[in-house]
Symmetry: C2
Subunit: 371 residues, 2 copies
């Protein structure tokens, strides 16, 4: 097996010394491939079980381990790659994935079609940070939500997305909402003199997902919101590939268990900052520090950095911190996170004493000035 | 809102006294619906945010809380139900879901089409426990795997499934493997005088998943293996609904983060024993105690109990403990788990000193005697 036809995954775990660490590493590679004890694998098939690189001891008995697998084990499919990445070992405590080097598997990962640069170009915003908000609350009618969308766009917010909890409820069925919000955002954009994007939530089972994407696209929506952990991660790649000129924003609903436990799952910067981007997200919403979620500011900075890194063959995506961002905290956050960020504010705009239009203008003005 | 048009979810979390517990509970219901602070929700829409039932204090500062939601919030879709169930709160530490009362949402959950009784009937085994094994290892050719399948069926194992790591790799592409293994298992069944089932792994992205299911069905396969956490949970329901006469076996790959952390996610008995069954699994593989996974025997007994419980409108499924079951431990396990169990043994059969045929016969004989 040469490096040319392989890919590698880097894991961290705790172990009591080099020997135990090597045993854990070897067990990971067996679990994820042959799923047999070493002595039950024919010699001729052992190369498929991967190769453990020299281990690195980190602090506090934590070990870093990279395992290189032949590309064949992923069978050219995202679903099987996910299985090799974290299928059975997800059932074992204490194993965390920190990075993947796709090597010759790179073609499996479409990467964002528009990416950070494509969204900037679409918005006509070359340098400044972008503003984003969500249409809420669940239970409101399409007329109510469309009026909200109108006020946000008239106030100049860049991206107005459905809340991820808006699906096809009887209070606001998908098609009616999309038609009304598209018109509302176009009207608001004319008034503000600045194009706002309307991004409906297309999350659904696979037979409905693509129909919603098509309907939204044909009816003038400007992007898609999708919760890939709910649809299945491969569906993100499917949607992105089918609509290369439509920005796809990934939402982290249902993904927490993979990222919020420090000793297992994935590092948030790998999962949201690299993997979802590699699967096709042009922008990735993640739970921001300082609010009701649990990530640290350092973690958020790392997610931002990974999203913006121009990974070869994959490219760059916009990080979209959401949660815990308010009209008061946005100035400090822009300084800390920098311009290549889409700032998502929800509740704080709805609480503005002077209403949604004023809230939107204030938010827009701040980001235009900041840039 | 009356109980008739609602469903409820029960959560556990830690809190410092009744007031804090009530605050957490209310924040859960807001996070999962309006996703707005209470004061930003119009009065007329507040009913959509759910209703917190009286809290129960358990031991060690843990609280039990049931929230009742109007059915409309789920919008008649499994994906949106998952979002209300554990979308954004999955990003917050310390919240665990223990049960769901589907109420009027029951039609959303197809339940198993064949279920425990259907599989028993198909096997002609009215009372005894069933045997199951997996074709391995990844990297083997279809001829090699088919020969393995032949030996297992000639030895009389009830269910012979693809290992969940067999997808469409070049060493054994899906169609070739299915054709060869179907023939091999039919041949072995004729020799043993007892029908074995061959269950290929159809896990793939949604555009391929259904094609694999159709190909497998049309070419004589006897069931489908699917890893719902990889495909997306709603795909399990799609496959189950499309093939009501084909047993669907769910595999837990990639699902660990939802179930192995004691203080967050889902209880394993709810997730594997109830939810996956409700989504259409006729049999559910879960990581067994005593081997390389982390569940306790009590947890496994609870998963078994939930799978077998005849939940109204949903029915019963077979529990399939896998991992850590060997030729030596099976006698004690049959006593402990009882007859309504499919016992999945992998590695231990492959390690049998007298080969696969003898290993299979021994396994079969034991379960026939036990029943």
């Amino acid at each position: 097996m040469t490096i040319g036809d392989s890919f590698s995954i880097t894991y961290t775990f705790s172990a009591n010394g080099q020997d135990e660490a090597m045993l854990i590493a070897r067990n990971i590679s067996l679990e994820q491939t042959a799923e047999l004890p070493e002595d039950a694998i024919p010699d001729s098939l052992k190369s498929y079980t991967g190769r453990v690189s020299p281990l690195q001891e980190m602090e506090n008995g934590t070990w870093n381990c990279t395992i290189t697998y032949p590309c064949e084990v992923a069978g050219g499919e995202i679903t099987q790659f996910i299985n090799v990445l974290f299928g059975n070992i997800s059932l074992k405590p204490g194993i965390r994935i920190t990075s993947v080097n796709p090597g010759k598997l790179l073609p499996l990962f479409p990467g964002p079609k528009m990416g950070l640069e494509g969204i900037r170009k679409r918005m006509g915003a070359t340098k400044r940070p972008l503003s984003c908000t969500a249409l809420k609350p669940m239970g409101a009618t399409s007329n109510y939500l469309a009026n909200t969308a109108y006020l946000f766009s008239a106030g100049g917010i860049d991206i107005i997305k459905d809340d991820h909890g808006l699906a096809n409820q009887p209070m606001s069925v998908f098609k009616d909402r999309v038609e009304k919000c598209v018109r509302a955002v176009q009207k608001g954009s004319r008034e503000s003199g600045k194009r706002s994007l309307y991004v409906p939530n297309i999350t659904a089972d696979s037979s409905t997902l693509m129909k919603r994407a098509e309907f939204a696209f044909e009816n003038g929506a400007d992007g898609f919101l999708i919760a890939p952990q709910i649809t299945g991660l491969a569906e993100l790649a499917r949607v992105s590939a089918a609509f290369p000129n439509v920005p796809v924003i990934a939402h982290p609903a249902f993904s927490g268990p993979y990222t919020i436990n420090r000793n297992s799952g994935f590092t948030p910067e790998f999962y949201y900052g690299y993997f979802w981007k590699a699967l096709g997200a042009d922008a990735v919403i993640y739970p921001n520090a300082g609010g009701r979620f649990s990530f640290s500011t350092d973690t958020c900075l790392e997610i931002n950095r990974m999203c913006r890194t121009d990974h070869p063959g994959i490219g760059r995506a916009f990080p979209v911190p959401g949660g815990g961002i308010s009209r008061d905290t946005i100035p400090a956050l822009v300084k800390s996170y920098g311009n290549d960020t889409i700032f998502l504010i929800g509740g704080s705009l709805y609480q503005h004493p002077e209403g949604l239009l004023e809230a939107a203008k204030e938010f827009r003005d701040y980001l235009v000035t900041a840039g």
